[in-house]
């Protein structure tokens, strides 16, 4: 029994170290963001909010934020509708080329983003659509679709089919069953799918670097250009805002939607 508790202690220490590794960059960048000096130094000698003010006032970040919102809103909503409908079809129906279609739509998970970005760039140039929002949105829809598919599909699997059967046996036509039973029951899966898609789209970088132009550049692209040009902690301030917003959204998602179930790391009860 003593060896067991020793093992548990060692395991606990290992897990604590790994969590520390995960948290380290976020904590360090927070320290850097509040450092009043323009040059990195640890520990900071004096503290200030001025990098936050500078970052928020920076025009390229503002434009990137606006572009990012436009692209994210369009891409995640389109992906939600397309993905939810297809997940429903995957779960309920057998049809020709079902597996092939599923494989193609899930493959952006393993196809490098730079290849996908390059592909959409060449394609857009060939059909004369380069330099607009359309190609950025199309590219993002393809990239986030696998996450929506997974999220909605898992919710569909957890759905009790007897509720739909009951509604149908009481005379509800298929459309009514869908809108009054299936969709409301799927709501947590739909919301979390949309949320994942939105967060991922808003943060997508590599493919966006290829398909955006000066006019349509999203926030990560603007951030990348900034990091290459300047070394002041404005970028650290933006990182802190990012980390706080993302962690808050994830904690909310965990409380209201049950992150563990959505990510399928826990068996549904």
């Amino acid at each position: 029994m003593r060896s067991q508790s020793l093992l548990r202690l060692l395991g606990g220490a290992a897990v604590a170290l790994i969590l520390g590794f995960l948290l380290l960059p976020g904590l360090v960048v927070t320290l850097a963001a509040f450092n009043s000096r323009a040059i990195l130094s640890f520990p900071p000698e004096s503290w200030s909010w001025r990098w936050f003010a500078k970052a928020i006032a920076y025009e390229d970040f503002q434009a990137g934020f606006r572009n990012g919102l436009i692209v994210t809103a369009c891409a995640s909503s389109i992906a939600l509708v397309v993905g939810a409908a297809f997940a429903f079809a995957l779960d309920r129906y057998e049809f020709r080329l079902k597996r092939a279609l599923e494989t193609v739509l899930l493959s952006p998970l393993v196809v490098p983003h730079f290849t996908i970005g390059l592909g959409f760039l060449i394609l857009a140039a060939q059909v004369g659509l380069a330099r607009g929002y359309a190609v950025v949105v199309a590219c993002h829809v393809v990239l986030v679709l696998p996450f929506v598919l997974r999220s909605v599909y898992i919710s569909l699997r957890n759905l009790d089919p007897r509720l739909e059967l009951a509604a149908a046996s009481l005379g509800a036509p298929p459309r009514r069953v869908l809108t009054t039973i299936t969709v409301p029951l799927l709501l947590p899966g739909l919301v979390s799918g949309w949320l994942f898609a939105a967060i991922l789209s808003f943060n997508e970088f590599t493919a966006s670097l290829f398909v955006t132009s000066q006019r349509t550049q999203t926030l990560p692209v603007a951030l990348y250009n900034y990091v290459r040009e300047y070394a002041d902690p404005s970028m650290a301030a933006v990182s802190v805002i990012y980390i706080v917003v993302t962690a808050t959204l994830l904690i909310l998602a965990n409380v209201f939607l049950g992150l563990a179930k959505v990510l399928a790391v826990e068996q549904p009860r």
Binding site: G11, L22, H113, P174, L209, N254
Partner: protein
């Protein structure tokens, strides 16, 4: 009444998306077979020259380095991810479980640029790690972590850890806890029970996690670009450079195609190599 209401309505949008994606990949394939016209964005006639040029030592080296970095990253991600996934699944307190989950998945949603920048602040010569080591008196001068393979792999492990943990935890949570109890009641110690029961049963998660980590690392761009700083080059960096610095899109496309084929070959090999492990599960 049709047995499959909404079928056409629900599948058509997905088909359109799949076609768009396929068209984009086809565009890359097509460009990889076209000649480069210097000084022009237009591609020339069809040729195999691009693929012949890939055999030059310069590119072969980048391919090798990329594969090596992908391998190292996938390996260390598994090593670090497994205990975390195990703790996540076996944590007794709901609060602890939630905390591990949120901490583990947040990096996934932060985006490559923010994560990479944070690691620059940690690893730089004036960065956090060097400041701590100097203060502790362990080193006299800053250690060069930036522009090294160590720096790039460290930051990449941080990127791939969340997806590894998600996939491992999914596999671990589906293992019936009774198997471990049975092993323990038959006299197996916790280590033996883990090695003979839990580890083999979690193989599908390991395969899924390692292959995804490998593919994601291959896809990484900002991390090798900014932390590698030109001294650690991956295929993604070369593709971008060829496209946007020399406008040689045909060659960029052929590099992408070769990279894609190589990734699929390696992923296929991994699955084949994992085959014997898979069969252990069937017993």
């Amino acid at each position: 009444m049709s047995q499959r209401p909404f079928l056409r309505l629900f599948v058509t949008p997905a088909v359109l998306c799949a076609l768009g994606f396929a068209a984009a990949l086809a565009a890359v394939m097509q460009y990889s077979l076209r000649a480069y016209v210097p000084g022009s964005l237009e591609a020339g006639g069809f040729t195999l020259d691009n693929f012949a040029a890939l055999l030059r030592p310069l590119y072969a080296r980048v391919f090798l380095e990329t594969m090596w970095i992908c391998f190292l990253t996938a390996f260390f991600t598994l090593l670090v991810g497994y205990p975390l996934a195990y703790a996540l699944v076996h944590a007794r307190h709901v609060a602890l479980k939630s905390a591990i989950l949120v901490i583990a998945v947040t990096p996934l949603f932060l985006g490559e640029v923010v994560r990479t920048y944070s690691w620059i602040v940690v690893l730089g010569n004036n960065g956090f790690l060097n400041a701590v080591l100097l203060r502790l008196g362990l080193i006299d001068a800053p250690v060069q972590f930036m522009f090294t393979q160590f720096g790039v792999v460290t930051a990449l492990v941080h990127v791939t850890l969340p997806i590894m943990v998600i996939m491992l935890a999914a596999a671990l949570s589906h293992i019936d806890r009774d198997y471990e109890r049975a092993a323990a009641s038959l006299g197996a110690g916790p280590i033996r029970a883990f090695l003979t029961i839990t580890l083999p049963l979690s193989t599908p998660g390991i395969i899924a996690g390692v292959t995804t980590a490998f593919a994601w690392t291959f896809s990484a761009f900002a991390t090798p670009q900014l932390i590698g700083g030109g001294r650690v080059n991956m295929i993604s960096n070369l593709v971008y450079q060829l496209g946007f610095a020399s406008f040689n899109f045909p060659f960029a496309a052929s590099l992408s195609v070769a990279g894609l084929l190589l990734t699929f070959a390696v992923l296929g090999l991994m699955r084949v190599a994992a085959g014997p492990l898979e069969t252990i599960r069937q017993h």
